[in-house]
């Protein structure tokens, strides 16, 4: 089976590790994780690497997750790759904004590994 390649975008290195752990606990194996500490860093990474999944925080300095997503689409980076927002923002309006910006999924912090599994696996067509 080929590697599943995930990009995790979050300004917190701790959260990036927690999300990676949740992906592994969800059964994604083999898994290769790329990390970006900002939306800008995420866009730069995607210019040279292929990924199968992107998970991004929303509240980040300089470029928030929604702008990262808009730039991703505008620059035609990672076409067809599902994007899941992982964030403290839980209102319907925030979810709507994320979907309109092009996200395929939304996970609210705090989260369990089971919740990550439920949201992510269907997007990768993994049973």
């Amino acid at each position: 089976m080929s590697d599943i390649r995930a990009l995790i975008v979050d300004d917190s290195s701790v959260m990036r590790k927690i999300v990676e752990r949740a992906l592994r606990q969800a059964g994604l194996d083999p898994l290769v994780v790329h990390e970006a500490g900002s939306g800008t860093e995420g866009l730069e990474l995607l210019r040279s690497r292929q990924v199968d999944l992107i998970l991004s925080d929303i509240n980040m300095p300089l470029m928030d997750g929604l702008e990262f997503l808009r730039q991703l689409r505008a620059q035609h980076l990672a076409p067809g790759v599902p994007v899941v927002m992982i964030t403290t923002e839980s209102s319907e309006e925030h979810v709507k904004q994320a979907i309109l910006a092009g996200a395929q999924g939304y996970i609210r912090k705090p989260f369990t590994a089971e919740q990550v599994k439920e949201r992510v696996l269907p997007l990768l067509h993994v049973v």
Partner: protein
């Protein structure tokens, strides 16, 4: 008519929302049970304080304060790593716990959740310092026991539209 939270002040300032948020975050992210302490938490010596600001219809802050031992324990539980001291990863973890707490708390009131944003966390370390925040609208100061230590979470509101 513009949305106002003033009529919902009793909902917004309900202390049970803060307790529920702490319980939810510590259970889900740290796998830990926290009990509300009757008296104020005694945090002496070196401490870590994280602050996340609120902006929008409510302005103020969520403040998490813990002694170094509690902060190290929290970070260890969150990351499955072991720490000997409060390093950058521990500070990051405390900042993130405060961030998630702030989001969970504001999510308890739908109108607040949709009309109040969060700042990125600020983390302060050291000893013998006090955070003075003017909070004319309301202030919640809750102390919790955690493992063999304790921590405090405060919600301070200096403006409510």
């Amino acid at each position: 008519m513009a949305l106002s939270l003033r009529a919902s002040l009793h909902l917004v300032s309900d202390p049970r929302n803060l307790d529920a948020s702490v319980d939810e975050v510590f259970q889900m992210m740290l796998g830990a049970n926290c009990q509300r302490s009757a008296g104020p938490a005694k945090i002496e010596g070196e401490a870590v304080t994280a602050v996340v600001g609120f902006c929008g219809l409510l302005t103020g802050a969520c403040i998490l304060r813990a002694g170094n031992a509690a902060a190290i324990e929290m970070a260890g539980r969150m990351t499955d790593m072991e720490f000997d001291a409060v390093d950058d990863i521990v500070k990051d973890a405390i900042g993130e716990i405060c961030n998630i707490l702030a989001g969970a708390w504001k999510g308890k009131v739908p109108d607040l959740s949709a009309n109040c944003g969060l700042s990125v966390p600020t983390v302060i370390t050291g000893r013998d310092y006090y955070l003075h925040v003017h909070a004319p609208e309301f202030r919640l100061n809750h102390a919790y026991s955690f493992e063999e230590t304790g921590f405090t979470v405060s919600i301070v509101c200096d403006g409510l539209q």
